[in-house]
Symmetry: C2
Subunit: 337 residues, 2 copies
């Protein structure tokens, strides 16, 4: 007996903003799982901004996706057939085998999921890679001190919204930049002190002024998800000895010509800034602390999250595209089953 | 009895490259030193790139120079009259009262100089602020490890040439960028491994290629004195977990319109770079270690330096202008007496 799995393959490398035709929905027949193998049916898959980088054929910290092959990414699935003593039928597993409905695996790279009462898809968001990204970027790279002010761009996203909330837990004042009033209202309800609706500030001068108004004494930390004008405004508003954690620069991911960088980088010298890039996979050692903290914060109502959900593998490309147009609040997910 | 002192005043704020007419040579009559005061005759004064920033009317880590007043900067002078028990006639003193031939002081801000056998003007260069800048920027900000590769721009300058030599002492491979073959030959004689003559690479692509050729495996550290294309090339050549110490960005100091920043800042994320600005005055605690190390390195021939000297207060503006045209090798000085 074979299983049919639908998957999304890379049809062509996007130039600029990805288009539906860069993706191809294909059906593949999965072999019956052999000795030591399991069959996993995916329940949820994640789409994340970093995947745009893997669509480019270049050397980077993760190898590029290959044309004609299924894309990859985090997914939560259920073991439906197991010939592997480490897994039982019904086990929930986290894998990098997203962008497909089902797959056969020898168990390598599968992580059994203990949900601790959280919804299973939370392990693609607040309790997963985006959550640890927020945790490591804020606590290890930015090192917040009580009473400091942080500016967060992409503040209603999966990473940004958790950065905002952990910063509040740590006693910081938080300024978040978001794309819509609805997102801003949600952040306000989480305790975020000031919200900037960046679409109301279509030029640098206006965004710089908005940040100075929101944080008249300047900001000590900037959590960078966006790049472009947001970075210019942050450099302008930073206080002496400020820190910038560079997590992503989504505003530039679809540029066909590289955009010039901030004209006010000289602030790095006069203000003695530290600008540091990071990737979550380098900070897996924080996972234990992260899970322990989350297990305290979630039941206490200190950490909340939102999800934006598309249904069906055929809608995964559309879900991915929404990341670049602000179509998601919180974690963008695709429900597969 | 009064003393006449000639001084250089700021006549007008430069727009773009400073011009001789931005400076005014003036004669002032100094009062006789009163009780507790000393008269100091300056022997040497320093011109440094950071002074360009103080000519702009803006808030920064040092207040701006005022029009119609003498400029300021480091100077080495000799006490010629003393009514202050802390100073004797003939004492050598380091002060911020440069750009003038003589001054009266109550002793505050004067630092008695013990030369340890070094020429007195060395305390404006290798053993002074530029020296400590190199020492702190390399050892504290970049934290070199044996076997690593460092790229230094402005490598034949007062700061850069010392960075190169300390990096060699620490067992690093050094690539230095300089403006002339003469400067490059000097660096080679100091043990610098590879020299880039940046004027032979008038565009970014060419400079990037030159750095990749000089450091085929990439660079672990970049000591930034220049900015512009040099920063683009460094970001391109950095290895994972590389560090950039931002000391200065002289290529932009005379811009009338801010220039765009590097288009390849995204490397900060993928390569997990740390980019850190610093100012020497924050690292005065390293002075003791610096002096101890220098006292060992200089007699051992491990640290050498060059000076470019103009004579007479009337030539101080010309000396300052040479900093921006590559007219100096090593420390640019003005001999006053």
């Amino acid at each position: 007996m074979t299983t049919t799995s639908r998957e999304i393959q890379l049809a062509s490398r996007p130039i600029g903003m990805p288009k539906p035709e860069n993706f191809k929905l294909a059906s593949v027949e999965l072999p019956e799982p052999g000795a030591g193998e399991v069959l996993v049916k995916n329940l949820w898959m994640s789409v994340d901004p970093y995947m745009r980088g893997r669509m480019i054929d270049r050397k980077s910290y993760v190898p590029p996706f290959q044309i004609g092959q299924a894309l990859e990414g985090h997914a939560v699935g259920k073991v439906t057939v197991s010939n592997n003593p480490d897994f039982a039928e019904g086990d929930l597993v986290l894998s990098m085998n997203g962008w497909r409905e089902a797959f056969v695996s020898d168990g390598k790279g599968l992580q059994k999921l203990e949900t601790f009462g959280l919804p299973e898809q939370a392990f693609l968001g607040v309790a997963g890679m985006p959550g640890l990204t927020a945790y490591a970027g804020l606590l290890r790279i930015l090192e917040p001190k009580e009473g400091e002010t942080i500016f967060v761009s992409g503040a209603a996203g999966a990473v940004g919204s958790l950065v905002c909330q952990i910063a509040k837990i740590k006693g910081c004042a938080v300024v978040g930049s978001v794309g819509s009033k609805e997102k801003g209202d949600w952040l306000k309800s989480l305790g975020v002190d000031e919200v900037i609706l960046y679409k109301e500030h279509p030029n640098q001068q206006s965004l710089m002024k908005a940040l100075k108004t929101a944080a008249p004494k300047g900001v000590d930390m900037y959590f960078e998800n966006v790049g472009g004008d947001h970075l210019v405004a942050a450099l302008d508003a930073m206080r002496d000895f400020g820190r910038i954690a560079v997590c992503g620069m989504i505003s530039g991911y679809n540029d066909t010509e590289p955009k010039p960088g901030p004209w006010n980088l000289f602030n790095i010298i006069g203000k003695r800034l530290r600008v540091q890039g990071f990737i979550v996979s380098d900070h897996q050692d924080m996972l234990g602390d992260f899970v322990r903290d989350l297990a305290e914060w979630v039941p206490a109502g200190k950490v909340q999250w939102q999800e934006t959900v598309e249904e069906g593998i055929e809608n995964a490309p559309a879900a991915f595209l929404k990341l670049f147009t602000g179509g998601n609040t919180g974690k963008m997910l695709v429900k597969l089953s």
